[in-house]
């Protein structure tokens, strides 16, 4: 069990407990009343910390709006996801975190009645647009879902699935990718002797790591994790969190999580979303210890949400 790499005081304390290095944050939140404004239907600007300006962006989101039918789920979302870092999105249920994540690889296309405006770019290439080949686009990303979803086939075939659908037949290459991905997902030692077994025979934590191996098999430019630990026990959760630290640097990770401690432990940057809007986005340690917006502080201290 590795210690959380981003030292944060008291993040393991239950929500609602006294918070911060002292009785009061050293520099109190300066912006107030945003949530009330949102509730009134007014447009609010996200507060983006200045540190982000220096990062090179893998993924940039600009003024992104999304509607499910008539209901708007995302409002003017603008974000840049820095290269080689772990970025977490937190917020209460229904705030649009997962919707935003699923918009990145256009999985929302599968749902009838979804409409979007705004722009998203992956390394400068547009994600939305008439000329975009969605299938090619999805091959440039990897995604891991809430519940482990290995396919009903062998462990080996599960991992090399992205290559298989590309028509790859070279046995040597497939073997190599399989081993590299499973090592990358810290699963190789556990399954190397039973690669031909059905993927569904693994335990839940192993299944989720198998899904991570599958997600990184295609060498993605960005790895999307949608609450990857919510169906796992604490031990398995720990393994996945360690794994994220190992993947960092080589891969850009965008993780949606319910669990604020997890965001605090694992991420470099954190965005706080509420009611389909980004409220505050900045370096994790600053966001958790010294939020700029009062509402962020209220959320992370457990006063609502």
């Amino acid at each position: 069990m590795a210690l959380p790499p981003v030292p944060l005081p008291n993040t393991a304390a239950p929500p609602g407990a006294p918070h911060g290095p002292g009785p009061e944050p050293t520099s109190p939140a300066v912006v107030d009343g945003r949530l009330a404004a949102i509730a009134r239907g007014e447009a609010v600007e996200a507060y983006i910390h200045p540190e982000l300006a220096g990062e090179s962006a893998v993924l940039s989101v600009e003024c992104f709006n999304l509607w499910y039918g008539l209901k708007q789920a995302l409002f003017h979302v603008s974000l840049v996801i820095p290269r080689g870092k772990v970025t977490a999105i937190i917020g209460p249920s229904g705030c649009g975190k997962s919707t935003l994540l699923r918009s990145v690889n256009r999985l929302n296309d599968l749902i009838d009645g979804v409409r979007i405006t705004g722009d998203m770019r992956l390394n400068g290439d547009p994600i939305y647009g008439n000329s975009v080949d969605v299938i090619e686009l999805r091959k440039r990303m990897g995604m891991v879902f809430q519940k482990p979803n290995p396919f009903p086939m062998s462990i080996y075939e599960n991992v090399v699935y992205p290559l298989r659908i590309d028509g790859e037949r070279d046995k040597r290459l497939l073997d190599e990718v399989c081993e590299r991905s499973l090592r990358g997902a810290a699963l190789w030692d556990e399954v190397k002797d039973r690669l031909r077994d059905n993927g569904l025979t693994l335990s839940g934590g192993q299944q989720q790591r198998l899904c991570i191996a599958r997600a990184i098999a295609g060498d993605p430019e960005v790895l999307l994790l949608d609450e990857p630990c919510s169906a796992l026990d604490p031990l398995a959760t720990n393994k996945i969190e360690d794994l994220m630290q190992e993947l960092k640097g080589e891969y850009t990770v965008l993780i949606v999580t319910h669990n604020m401690q997890q965001a605090a432990r694992t991420s470099d940057y954190t965005a706080f979303m509420y009611l389909g809007r980004v409220i505050e986005y900045g370096v994790t340690s600053k966001l958790f210890t010294n939020p700029h917006v009062r509402d962020t502080q209220d959320y992370i201290t457990g006063r609502f949400g």
């Binding site: 809430q146 396919f151 699935y161």
Partner: protein
């Protein structure tokens, strides 16, 4: 409430078990040979045969007046003792050629005396007159009596019967195979002439060539037929030398040995002898063709026809049903049209099957088959090739009938594939078809096979539409044989379900056909159970492979 539910289940189970029990009991008992009983009535009539059934009834008192004086008193006493009830037994007297009946009811009060004659022979004949019961009187070779004692006659019979039967079977084979081949060449030459006439006209050189070819073949065929006829006549002549004379009910009958399929002295055979007869009858039933207007012999062509039709039907219905369900579930946009299509499919399952038969006859046989005949088999017209009922059209009709079952089952199976699995596949960059082919279909396969099992069970047991599109009472040859092109899907075929209907309700003598009905029903149930068990085995193997993970 729980008692009501449990009770309903118990009633269902009771009915199913009861049905199976009756069919199994009657079906298994049919071929067991029973002893022969000979009764003499007060009127002097003699009845010899196996007792197949007995029951109690209330005879009309006037019936007793027909008895002779001396018997009337005891009969009245016996009736009075039983409150007016009497027992009567149904004796399988056979000897249709002598008595014009197969069975006879004998009441106990009519009987003067009864015995079990030691040498009563039961003889199963190859002719349409059915069985013969009698006591052997003499064995004749070339018209001369060589044995007159029953034991000697029986010994002689056993000595000569084997070779005679072999000659008989060789004769049948010559008639069917070699004779058939010669006739086929003749037919081909005749069709060649007709084709030349249709394509080139009656005066063309091609027509002349075909005509001379036909003459040539006709000459050859006449010679061949003569040769075969000689051979057959020789075999027949050899067989005609052997005959057996039997006495039955005061009459005597000469039986040529070649007509005898099986004979046994019913009151002399022991347990093992009976077991031998039982086994040999089952073997004949499963592997041979029917005889005595379907009421005896085997049902092999019907077994073959049922299995072939069911498999062909599954082969057609599963791909079609799966494709249709895939479109409905995966590609079509939900809306009023799709809802209407779904309702229509569900209603299709409720259409009476005879309507499908009528449709099959009109569409497959007459329209499609008729067009095929027009295009490819003109020379054979007006006799139809594909333009009439046959194995292919029957399978297609039943495929149509069972299509809703497969579509509904497949749709359910597709809907049960978790969304997360599809999304996982899409997130890997798979296209829709790749996702369906690699993830959705394998995962839905057990459900699809369930649909196939249901369709097979429904299709194999269906009779009504088959009567219109190709099932026949007696098919001259199987749809697969050694004749080019070896597979003849246009041929009509026999079917166990239709056989049950035909034997049970269309035969001249339902009493002797009844045991056959039970046996055939038993066989049909066993066949469907076997087909289903195979499919289930397959499904369970797949299910193990795609079993959902546990954690």
């Amino acid at each position: 409430m729980v008692w009501l539910q449990g009770g309903a289940l118990a009633v269902c189970l009771f009915m199913i078990v009861g049905l199976l029990y009756v069919v199994f009991r009657q079906g298994m008992a049919t071929f067991w040979p029973g002893p022969s009983l000979q009764v003499r009535t007060h009127g002097g009539a003699v009845y010899l045969g196996e007792v197949v059934r007995e029951e109690r009834y209330r005879p009309d008192p006037a019936l007793l007046d027909g008895l002779p004086e001396s018997a009337r008193g005891p009969a009245r006493d016996a009736l009075a003792r039983e409150d007016g009830w009497a027992r009567r037994r149904l004796i399988y007297t056979a000897n249709f050629d002598l008595t014009q009946t197969h069975h006879h009811w004998v009441s106990d009060f009519e009987i003067a005396d009864e015995e079990r004659p030691e040498w009563a022979l039961v003889i199963e004949r190859a002719t349409n007159d059915g069985r013969f019961n009698g006591v052997p009187v003499a064995f004749l070779i070339d018209g001369k009596e060589v044995a007159t004692d029953p034991a000697d006659v029986w010994a002689k019979f056993n000595e000569h019967h084997g070779p005679v039967r072999q000659r008989f079977q060789r004769r049948v084979k010559i008639e069917k195979d070699q004779g058939g081949a010669v006739s086929r060449r003749e037919e081909e030459a005749r069709l060649g002439l007709r084709r030349a006439e249709l394509e080139h006209g009656a005066g063309s050189p091609e027509y002349a060539a075909a005509a001379s070819k036909l003459d040539e073949v006709n000459d050859w065929a006449a010679k061949e037929h003569d040769r075969l006829n000689d051979e057959i006549a020789h075999l027949n002549g050899e067989n005609a030398r052997y005959a057996m004379r039997l006495a039955a009910g005061g009459q005597q009958k000469m039986l040529p040995l070649a007509d005898v399929v099986r004979a046994y002295p019913a009151n002399r055979v022991g347990y093992w002898g009976k077991l031998g007869i039982y086994t040999s009858r089952w073997w004949e039933f499963l592997t041979d063709e029917p005889r005595n207007i379907n009421s005896e012999g085997g049902v092999f062509p019907a077994i073959w026809g049922t299995a072939a039709m069911t498999l062909l039907m599954s082969l057609v219905v599963v791909p079609f049903g799966v494709l249709a369900a895939l479109y409905l579930r995966e590609y079509a946009k939900a809306g009023p049209v799709i809802s209407a299509v779904r309702i229509a499919i569900n209603n299709l399952a409720g259409v009476p099957s005879i309507v499908f038969g009528v449709f099959g006859l009109g569409f497959f046989c007459y329209i499609i088959g008729g067009s095929l005949d027009d295009l490819f088999f003109r020379s054979r017209l007006p006799s139809p090739t594909y333009g009439t009922g046959g194995l292919l059209w029957a399978s297609l009709t039943l495929a149509l009938l069972t299509l809703p079952v497969v579509i509904v089952a497949t749709e359910e199976a597709l809907a049960a594939v978790p969304r997360s699995m599809r999304e996982g596949s899409y997130a890997c960059g798979a296209s829709k078809w790749q996702t369906i082919r690699r993830i959705v279909l394998p995962r839905a396969m057990p459900g699809i096979l369930t649909g196939m099992i249901l369709a097979m069970a429904r299709g194999a047991g269906e009779v009504a539409p088959l009567m219109l599109v190709g099932a026949v009472k007696l098919a001259p040859s199987l749809p697969v044989d050694s004749e080019f092109p070896f597979v003849h899907p246009q041929r009509s075929f026999m079917h166990l379900g239709f056989h049950i209907y035909d034997v049970g309700f269309q035969s001249q003598d339902s009493e002797s056909a009844k045991p056959m009905v039970f046996t055939t029903t038993l066989l049909l149930i066993a066949l469907i159970a076997t087909l289903n068990a195979t499919a289930m085995l397959l499904r369970n193997r797949l299910r193990r492979r795609y079993a959902a993970g546990q954690f």
